[in-house]
């Protein structure tokens, strides 16, 4: 037998207007096991709370039902109240007679009747509630940051500066990410390398950061506070402990590979560092272009290396470590524009994509900063096409957010470095950011030609074989325009990294339809994910510029810190458990759980649930044919009883 207390709130007139609250309390008093039932003007007020606490003590209540507003409003408040009065917080039931009764009717008869039915359901449910205790776990104080772009670098540094140990995992042989490819950044036009390389260096030097370049996360086990991480260190064929970065090897190497760093505009050696300021300053051998790996002979690098650092026998190796939280900052790729045949990328040498152009401007780039095209000539006319693949229902509906601004930056740099005419073909210019509109106005002043219209086609010019014709409709004049140009710059959609699915699987992240990682809440939890202890920052969440990325990185670092700065943490008590006596070993739970919480104990022939991984959705309980799974706080008995109570009157 339970001793239930029922507390009916008037919520001023909010409830009492359409529910006869004293009648409801009287009704409650007549229900089995209800030992006290009261109504009060504002149950959430201090006197209201005190009344509940006093009645718990006075009437030795073991269940409390608060009949008031939505549990999403005040469940937490009242849980604290009963807990202070000595009751387990899960022995509370909230009956929602405001949002779901009094506010949705103006008929007091109907409202009162429905409130009674709901209250009766709560009484049935309350009888079967069980006290639950949150589990306390030890928290590992280290953090892993995945992705060594500006987001990852920023987050890693912030965390390391608070004294936390950070593992920064980067799949390339250097950190820096896309930002390191840029020459100037909008709208201030400051040198990208000048602001980034000090941070890259700081990462390398930081005593709290373990930098893991040329590495990929291969396995993530465990749960918030206790992730078990396995990282695959790809073979570099260079012993980085011995290497002193003299780079003699790169001079002698005969192998030639495509430079991914320079967006394929030039070749680089098989043994290489991607760019002069790379961090770490250590070369790696690219198997696909190494003469030794291709033909079995060469090993010139080995011969010239005084440090004996070259090691052709190296294999991929695996590292294991534990962390308490993870920040995923894997960044983006540019959309492959080759399938958009109307723009002729890959077909006409005069067509470039944005990152290629970034490299052309860069003094450390393939042309040492001179704007010359693939044929070595300087362009006389340049068209920059916005929204290639983005804001396009046939490709990506989303706006990539930064293209307008970097296209303006390109225009400026083209005007600065060449005498070319520069055309901007845009749908509209989105310049929402600090100093962005001002930058836009400045570019307008620089004699850049703006044509409001999306570039529709790029084709070789019939009259001048070397040139290209860009076709577009100028939506301001309504005229169709054909622009003869030498160079076309595409601003393609920013899309998630090609391996986003693998990352999502590893970290149990959900993705939106384009593959960007989903945040827990679009407004109130933009950096957290549905996987507890895993945070996202930067463009892997959605396209954004450098300032926003850095801000997110700092935010994610702070969020991670809220976890790893604690030594212990409480896990939600409303998890599922298996009653082994009823488990038939069908493993349905193991098959369906989105979090991998249930696992099969071969020895006992029954499933078990790792409660630290469980989020309490109850899916396993409903697919369990023998009702062996108990979804705490939403058990089969509790739901059935509540239904019975709801249907009684």
């Amino acid at each position: 037998m339970s001793r239930i207390g029922v507390f009916v709130c008037h919520c001023g007139h909010n409830i009492s207007q359409t529910v006869r609250v004293s009648e409801l309390a009287h009704f409650a008093a007549g229900l089995p096991d209800v030992v006290v039932a009261k109504d009060y003007r504002f149950m959430c007020s201090t006197p209201g709370q005190d009344m509940i606490a006093n009645d718990i003590r006075e009437h030795r209540l073991d269940r409390v039902i608060v009949t008031a507003c939505s549990p999403l409003m005040h469940e937490h408040t009242f849980r604290k109240v009963i807990e202070k009065a000595g009751l387990n917080q899960y022995l509370l039931t909230i009956v929602n007679i405001r949002e779901q009764v009094s506010w949705v009717t103006d008929d007091i008869e109907e409202g009162t009747a429905k409130a009674k039915a709901l209250l009766n359901g709560a009484v049935y449910r309350a009888r079967l509630l069980a006290p639950l205790s949150s589990r306390v776990i030890d928290v590992n104080s280290d953090v892993m940051v995945v992705g060594g772009g500006i987001a990852g670098i920023q987050a890693a540094l912030e965390l390391a500066n608070t004294g936390k140990k950070v593992y920064l995992v980067e799949k390339n042989s250097t950190i820096g990410g896309h930002m390191a490819q840029f020459d100037k950044t909008f709208p201030t036009l400051d040198c990208s390398a000048c602001i980034l390389t000090p941070k890259m260096d700081a990462v390398l030097q930081h005593p709290n950061i373990t930098l893991l370049t040329y590495c990929e996360v291969s396995e993530v086990k465990g749960y918030v506070g206790n992730f078990d991480i396995t990282v695959r260190q790809k073979a570099r064929y260079v012993n980085h402990d011995k290497c002193n970065a003299c780079l003699a090897c790169t001079e002698k190497c005969p192998g030639k590979g495509i430079s991914g760093w320079d967006e394929g505009l030039i070749k680089r050696k098989a043994i290489h560092i991607p760019f002069p300021q790379a961090v770490p300053q250590r070369p790696v051998i690219d198997r696909d272009s190494c003469t030794y790996f291709l033909k079995g002979k060469c090993r010139l690098c080995e011969k010239v290396c005084e440090q004996k650092a070259i090691d052709f026998e190296q294999h991929d190796s695996f590292l294991n470590f534990k962390v308490g939280a993870v920040i995923v900052a894997t960044g983006y790729d540019l959309m492959d524009t080759r399938p958009l045949i109307q723009y002729g990328y890959g077909k006409y040498p005069g067509v470039y994509h944005a990152l290629e152009v970034e490299r052309l401007f860069n003094s450390a780039g393939p042309t040492s900063g001179k704007v010359t095209m693939r044929d070595g000539k300087e362009p006389q006319a340049i068209a920059i096409l916005h929204c290639v693949g983005s804001r396009d229902k046939n490709n990506y509906e989303h706006c990539s957010r930064v293209c307008c601004m970097y296209s303006l930056k390109f225009a400026h740099l083209f005007r600065e470095k060449t005498s070319a005419d520069v055309y901007q073909l845009y749908i509209d210019i989105r310049a929402a950011g600090k100093g962005y509109e001002e930058f836009y106005n400045r570019i307008i002043e620089e004699d850049v030609k703006f044509i409001r219209g999306k570039g529709t086609r790029v084709a070789p010019s019939a009259d001048e074989p070397q040139r290209l014709i860009v076709e577009a409709e100028d939506t301001i004049t309504g005229k169709f325009v054909r622009l003869p140009v030498d160079m076309v710059v595409l601003s393609p959609a920013m899309v998630p990294r090609s391996d986003y699915k693998e990352i999502a699987r590893l970290f149990n992240l959900s993705t939106d339809k384009n593959g960007f990682f989903m945040e827990r809440h679009p407004k109130l939890a933009p950096l957290a994910t549905m996987s507890e202890g895993i945070f996202i920052a930067g463009v892997c969440q959605s396209p954004k510029d450098i300032p926003d990325t850095v801000a997110q990185a700092n935010g994610a670092a702070a969020e991670a810190l809220t976890i790893v700065s604690r030594q212990k943490m409480e896990l939600e008590a409303t998890t599922a458990m298996v009653n082994p006596a009823s488990c038939c070993g069908c493993q349905n739970c193991v098959r369906v759980c989105p979090y991998g919480a249930p696992f099969f104990n071969e020895q006992k022939g029954v499933s078990e649930i790792n409660e630290a991984l469980c989020k309490g959705c109850g899916l396993c309980a409903s697919v369990c044919p023998s009702s062996a799974i108990i979804a705490r706080h939403f058990t089969n008995e509790q739901v059935l009883a509540e239904m019975e109570g709801l249907m009684e009157f």
Binding site: L31, P32, D33, A581, E644, M647, E648
Partner: protein
């Protein structure tokens, strides 16, 4: 007292009995006959071999409500369910089933603890036994002969009935039988030839061939005790057993039940419901321990209870050889063969 009635007029007899009380008789259903209340005299049907479920349902229904209560009210206010006993005529009981009532009486009456539900119904019921048709060979599954029961044994019946050509002969076996036959005006008097026919039929009945073996209760009881721990024997016997409840539910001498409370909307009922020793949860203890987790343990229990423990405790085998368990077993497990094998083991 020997009476008779033309089988053509059997419906008049049904009507007369229905006037005097509740008439229960085999009624044809999709899968076969079962005892049920006759609502229309035309329903009475003598064209059956035996029922699927034994007539124990009449005295020990599968579900029996004892008390009804409201969960909010004190226990003292619980209402016992009225039994509503009415004069009942159980018509067409085969000799083996009639015999089974005597075995069941041991548990519900003769052991000293009287089960009022069983006893009151039993007292209010007149049993009209009915001989098997000796012109039709007994079904393969039957073995009542082994248990010393003839195909036309009147034992256990109040009135015993034998078909003679177009007539049904009805003989009173007990005073209750006398009384009811006397009250049935449409019955004709049995002629001496009928009497002779009746006597001979009964005699002939004991010769009616079913599966038969010489079975001494004490010997089989001992034998089963000896092989109780032979896991090999029982595992082989139970290899096919599915552990369902058919054999015990159709059995005329299985009487195990469970007491359960069913509640709905703060009202409840306490009732007994048949249980079966073949069910996995039959022996499940509150602690979670289950002494009979294997199929072979459960089958062994059923066989030994009937042929060994029951003999030791009450001197008789708790089986009448009606063949139902064999007939309805989905995997054709045959208790007769098990006993045969046990004797050889």
């Amino acid at each position: 007292m020997l009476k008779k009635i033309s089988i053509k007029k059997i419906n008049d007899l049904a009507a007369a009995l229905m006037e005097k009380g509740t008439l229960l008789a085999p009624v044809k259903e999709a899968a076969g006959h079962n005892f049920a209340e006759i609502k229309d005299p035309q329903q009475l049907d003598l064209d059956y071999y035996n029922t699927i479920v034994s007539p124990k349902t009449v005295f020990l229904p599968q579900k029996e409500d004892f008390v009804r209560y409201e969960t909010a009210k004190p226990v003292a206010e619980a209402q016992p369910v009225a039994l509503n006993i009415k004069a009942t005529f159980l018509f067409g009981v085969r000799p083996c089933d009639a015999k089974s009532f005597q075995i069941m009486d041991i548990h519900f009456h003769a052991s000293g603890i009287i089960d009022p539900y069983w006893q009151q119904r039993r007292d209010a019921t007149v049993i009209f036994g009915s001989a098997f048709d000796l012109d039709i060979p007994a079904q393969d599954a039957d073995f009542y002969q082994t248990l010393g029961i003839g195909a036309a044994d009147p034992e256990g019946s109040d009135v015993f009935m034998v078909k003679k050509g177009e007539d049904l002969l009805m003989k009173a076996i007990t005073p209750q039988g006398e009384e009811i036959l006397a009250r049935l005006a449409m019955l004709g008097e049995g002629k001496p030839a009928d009497k002779k026919y009746f006597e001979e039929y009964i005699k002939k009945g004991s010769q009616h061939q079913t599966r038969n073996m010489c079975l001494d209760p004490q010997v089989i009881a001992k034998k089963l005790e000896d092989i109780f721990h032979s896991g090999e024997f029982w595992q082989a016997q139970s290899a096919a057993c599915l552990s369902c409840g058919i054999c015990t539910f159709v059995c005329p001498t299985c009487y195990c039940f469970d007491i359960c409370d069913d509640t709905l909307f703060s009202r409840g009922v306490r009732r007994r419901v048949w249980d079966a020793c073949m069910f996995t949860d039959f022996t499940l203890e509150a602690s979670g321990h289950n002494p009979r987790t294997h199929v072979y343990q459960r089958l062994r229990q059923k066989v030994c209870h009937k042929y060994s423990f029951h003999v030791r405790k009450y001197g008789v085998i708790s089986c009448v050889g009606c063949g139902r368990c064999t007939r309805y077993c989905p995997v054709n497990i045959d208790i007769y063969s098990i006993i045969q094998d046990a004797m050889k083991a």
